[in-house]
């Protein structure tokens, strides 16, 4: 009940579009802007006074919303909050004129103000973003409304607006991550599918711990996941509808194991690996017709298929050359082109949602790396390195990568980490216990 209600409410949440205050001067002379390039070294200082509580009993929720916005922005590594103790000016009213000089004096380049009202369980959150050194707002003020339970999503949506206005990049904070929650000793690890907000909040479990589950993947529509389960005793692909929670096995296929599934961008096709007599190749299955097509036919291991965002190509890994390397082939199968060319082994290619890069796992000299390269294999850059990093997944805007990092030894455990595509802002994503195999959702509706 509650679950369905939430989805409906969020559907209706859609930015109410209420434009507050006067129209922005179109002439913003030197607009506040951050380019996400290797050049950004110093995070942009910003001030975000605790949002005002207007009406109702909104003080607590206003504080919580402010904290989530600050945490989203700081988590990118691009922004640094100026502590409230440094403020000269206080914001007494949402519509009062801004004392730009006071914010300039503490070197706040951006100022975020907001107000929250809470009436009968419905909250309304207004915010404005100011470019302090231009003495002007950056974009329009906006109001978002929702149920009390939606406060985190509203905070993420506001942070997304701020991030997008300043960087020019697409939003990504209002998104979820499905992953494998791990517990128990290394030789008897229990694995359950779980889902959470991108920042680790609002965790819920999607399966119990009765059988091993691996590598969940989101559909681009955000309503379904694919994963591999040992429920029958053999690895088999399952599809779960996130709204109903119901799971079903993909049609019984000839072959011993099926694994490594991924949806096509339109959600109608699943590319996956099928093993038969010890040999693993890539197949594609149409969900509407049930038709299965074999895409590779070699005695080597072909796995980890990932569609390009336009659906026309598939990146995958193969050890046909003797070691794991990344290849690209037409989505219908056919001649594959090897794209990885550096030293070591390359695996788990994942096409960026922007289409410009492929993220991958690299193994070389006893260490693992997460890296990105252009889709033709050029401009390879390694972003992380550790005893065991693997399995990258892209943020909806193609600017951040989440992956699994596992520590060595008998007590080694897996954790989720996040890094941006320039290799900065590397941090652990908070989860209650050990976690692996993250898959990022598309931006929520």
């Amino acid at each position: 009940m509650k679950g369905n209600g939430l989805i409906c409410r969020l559907g209706a949440l859609a930015i109410a579009g209420a434009v507050l205050g006067a129209a922005t001067s179109g002439a913003a002379a030197a607009p506040l802007h951050l380019e996400i390039t290797d050049g950004v070294i110093e995070p942009m200082p910003f001030a975000a006074p605790t949002f005002l509580a207007e009406g109702g009993n909104a003080a607590e929720i206003a504080q919580a919303i402010t904290q989530v916005i600050v945490s989203d922005l700081q988590g990118t590594g691009l922004f640094a909050q100026i502590p409230a103790s440094a403020y000269i000016s206080q914001v007494a009213s949402f519509d009062a004129p801004v004392a730009f000089a006071d914010w300039k004096a503490i070197n706040a380049q951006a100022l975020i103000t907001g107000a929250v009202s809470d009436q009968g369980g419905r909250i309304a959150v207004k915010f404005r973003l100011y470019d302090v050194f231009s003495d002007a707002p950056l974009g329009d003020g906006q109001q978002m409304t929702g149920g009390e339970g939606d406060w985190r999503r509203i905070a993420h949506k506001i942070a997304d607006q701020i991030y997008s206005r300043i960087t020019g990049e697409g939003p990504y904070f209002d998104s979820r991550v499905v992953f494998v929650s791990e517990s128990g000793p290394k030789n008897a690890r229990q694995k359950q599918l779980a889902i959470m907000d991108y920042d680790g909040a609002n965790v819920s479990f999607l399966t119990d711990a009765s059988s091993i589950v691996l590598a969940p993947r989101f559909s681009q529509q955000g309503n379904k996941i694919l994963y591999t389960s040992f429920e029958t005793g053999f690895p088999r692909i399952k599809e779960m509808d996130l709204r109903s929670g119901a799971s079903r096995a993909l049609a019984d296929l000839q072959g011993n194991m099926t694994f490594a599934p991924r949806f096509s961008p339109d959600g109608d096709t699943v590319a996956f690996s099928l093993e038969q007599n010890g040999n693993t190749d890539i197949y594609a299955m149409s969900l509407s017709s049930g038709q299965v097509r074999r895409l590779t036919d070699t005695p080597s291991i072909e796995t980890a298929p990932s569609f390009s965002p336009d659906g026309s190509q598939i990146a995958f890994e193969s050890d046909r050359s003797g070691t794991q390397q990344i290849y690209v082939m037409p989505a219908g199968g056919g001649e594959a082109t090897r794209v990885s060319s550096g030293e070591g082994r390359y695996s788990t290619p994942v096409w960026s949602p922007r289409g410009d890069l492929v993220a991958f796992t690299k193994q070389n000299g006893g260490r693992f790396y997460i890296g990105v390269m252009r889709t033709d294999g050029s401009e390879e850059r390694l972003l992380t390195s550790s005893y065991l990093d693997e399995g990258p997944t892209w943020s909806p805007n193609g600017r951040v990568i989440m992956f699994t990092r596992e520590s060595p030894g008998a007590t080694g455990t897996a954790k989720l980490f996040s890094v941006d595509i320039s290799g900065r802002a590397l941090h652990a994503v908070p989860t209650q216990g050990a976690a692996s195999d993250p898959a990022w959702s598309p931006l929520l509706p």
């Binding site: 359950q192 119990d208 796995t303």
Partner: protein, 174 residues
């Protein structure tokens, strides 16, 4: 909250429906080791390892496990010697079936290791079949790097984890 518990119930029901599966490693159940658990033979029924007709003899005296070189699924001479004895035993005891489990060490990505474990299990299966064991009595499964038997992150452990284990089950082949 309501939604979550519904999901739990559903999954629970599916898991129950599949409870006679050959997965002796059902999440957390058992851990690594010899036969036992859902599809294998209970520890009590293994018998005496000095009795050549007992599953314990197959498991411990012949040895149910063979090991592999890094990234390889080729059978070493030692592995072939063990498997020749396994085949002889299986040929003498036609009421037993077996699942060959392939495993990989942790130095590889998850999906590749599943495929590599399958290659190893298949090598063992093919060898046993070549020695006269009916293919209908042998299934294979791969656990990739999900079920290590040795826990350190050094070659001494990796070498033990790159393995294929022939797990006996009682009952006629299907």
């Amino acid at each position: 909250m309501q939604k979550i518990s519904t999901i739990f119930l559903l999954v629970g029901a599916l898991a129950l429906a599949a409870c006679n599966n050959p997965n002796r490693y059902g999440n957390g159940a058992g851990g690594a080791g010899g036969a036992g658990g859902a599809g294998g033979i209970g520890a009590g029924a293994l018998g005496d390892p000095s009795n050549p007709n007992s599953p314990a003899y197959f498991q411990q005296t012949i040895g149910d496990t063979v090991h592999f070189v890094v990234d390889q699924s080729t059978l070493t001479p030692e592995a072939q010697a063990t498997l020749t004895q396994q085949a002889t035993w299986l040929n003498k005891h036609p009421t037993y079936t077996a699942i060959v489990e392939g495993h990989a060490d942790e130095q590889g990505t998850r999906e590749y290791n599943l495929a590599l474990g399958a290659r190893r299990a298949s090598s063992v299966q093919q060898f046993l079949v070549a020695q006269g064991v009916s293919a209908a009595r042998l299934k294979t499964v791969s656990y990739g790097k999900e079920r290590p038997i040795a826990l350190c992150s050094e070659e001494s452990c990796f070498a033990q984890n790159r393995r294929a284990v022939t797990v006996l089950s009682a009952g006629a082949g299907s």
